[in-house]
Amino acid sequence: MRELTDDLMETVARELSVLPPVREEAIERILELAAQQRDAGPAAQAARIEPPQHGAWRARQRAWAGAGLAAALAALLWVGVARRSAPPEARLVDPAGPAGTAGEAASPVPGAVVVADLTAADDALRAVQFVLDAPGVRAVAVVGGFNDWDPAATRLERVPGTTVWTTTVLLPPGRYTYAFIVDDSTWVLDPRAPRAEDPDYGVQSSVLLVGRE
């Protein structure tokens, strides 16, 4: 084990050891968000952490018949579903059949979209806006290949005065599957996007194509 024996490294370590200024508001914010996590209900919190009994997520699925009317309808239906008294239990109702058999089931078209040519020379990032109209919910996040499927990584924010949640991320061109996670417990597909079947895990997701110029 080597010690820092030269002045230069000593100086470096000393400078880097100085603690940066701590904002009390930042700490308060953490505690406030933690309290929100907790208030989401022990069942919901447990559902977020422990695998549910049935081993799958519930998806709020709405048939996507196309365009605005369906989306508006979806929003209205969402209102009805979201106003619940008990915390949501995280279970998946797989439209293709019982969870675990997707892939073999005679499902409607699986959804894959084209991959833009991912030549190494072009790493251009495009701004992609995720939008979900979800009245009555406390938190919305988006998960997908672009953020390691991490519900903590990309949270949406509610546009004040509306029930619409949104965030914008920068993504290189390509095909991404994704879904929204609502209230840390419920897997929600994007009503506006094509769907992808999932022979591997039996959980549908939404598909996003990011193109080049």
Binding site: M9, R29, A124, D148, L170
Partner: protein, 231 residues
């Protein structure tokens, strides 16, 4: 050991340094700064620095809100320092630390490694820093490519604290040039004063690999800083 007073006065220069040192003393109890402890012994982290009794973690695990708050206040300054040194930007560091604590909070009910809480916390924080760093790099590349008139600003990590001066900026820049894994190992060992066993719990890498990373980081930093100084 007194609880750390987390509010740092908004002073500059010498006053700030004095306040920081005072904070060091409060947190670490025995009057040593973390750097000195690390130079004396790599196992310094197991000493007074760790601090929190297992019972606090146990209480937090059972849902005791006040216990969780204690945990946050106890570790926040060091987490912030580590994240800031990893990312080069204080705002990003605050974000990373916030995310890490929230993930810890969410996973507490199933946390079982008593006595290793600090390693677990830093592991989660290190992961957040890695993710954030990768994202920031892509963003910087995008700016360079698509907003070249901003490139001069974007390419440079934002100066976070003028009071610490030119030296720190040099060090910061050199640190930024290290590959993330080397930077991480260097900071954990020489700044956070952790031992290789704890670092293994944090990074998952074997002590032999970690030792090499630390040494290589030192070599690269030394070379870069000497280059800068002689320029």
């Amino acid at each position: 050991m007194s609880r750390a007073k987390v509010l740092a006065p908004a002073t500059h220069g010498a006053q700030r340094a004095a306040a920081d040192r005072a904070m060091n003393v409060e947190i670490f109890g025995d009057g040593t700064s973390p750097r000195r402890a690390s130079l004396r012994s790599p196992g310094g982290a197991r000493g007074p620095m760790s601090g929190l009794p297992d019972s606090t973690v146990a209480r937090a695990k059972l849902g005791d809100h006040a216990a969780f708050a204690e945990i946050v206040r106890h570790y926040y300054p060091r987490c912030l320092r580590f994240a800031r040194n990893m990312l080069g930007d204080l705002a990003d560091a605050e974000d990373a630390v916030q995310e890490a604590f929230l993930r810890v909070h969410a996973a507490l009910p199933r946390y079982t490694e008593y006595g290793r809480f600090e390693a677990w916390l830093f592991r989660i924080l290190a992961n957040q820093c890695r993710t954030m760093w990768a994202r920031e790099r892509r963003r910087a590349e995008w700016l360079l490519r698509y907003a070249p008139h901003h490139a001069g600003v974007a390419a440079e990590p934002p100066a976070t604290d003028d009071a610490r001066g030119a030296l720190l900026r040099e060090i910061d820049r050199a640190l930024r040039e290290l590959p993330a894994l080397l930077r991480e190992a260097f900071l954990l060992y020489h700044v956070e004063g952790m031992g290789y066993e704890q670092m293994m719990m944090i990074t998952g890498a074997r002590p032999s690999a970690l030792k090499m990373r630390v040494k290589r980081a030192r070599d690269l930093l030394r070379a870069r800083l000497r280059e800068v100084r002689s320029a």
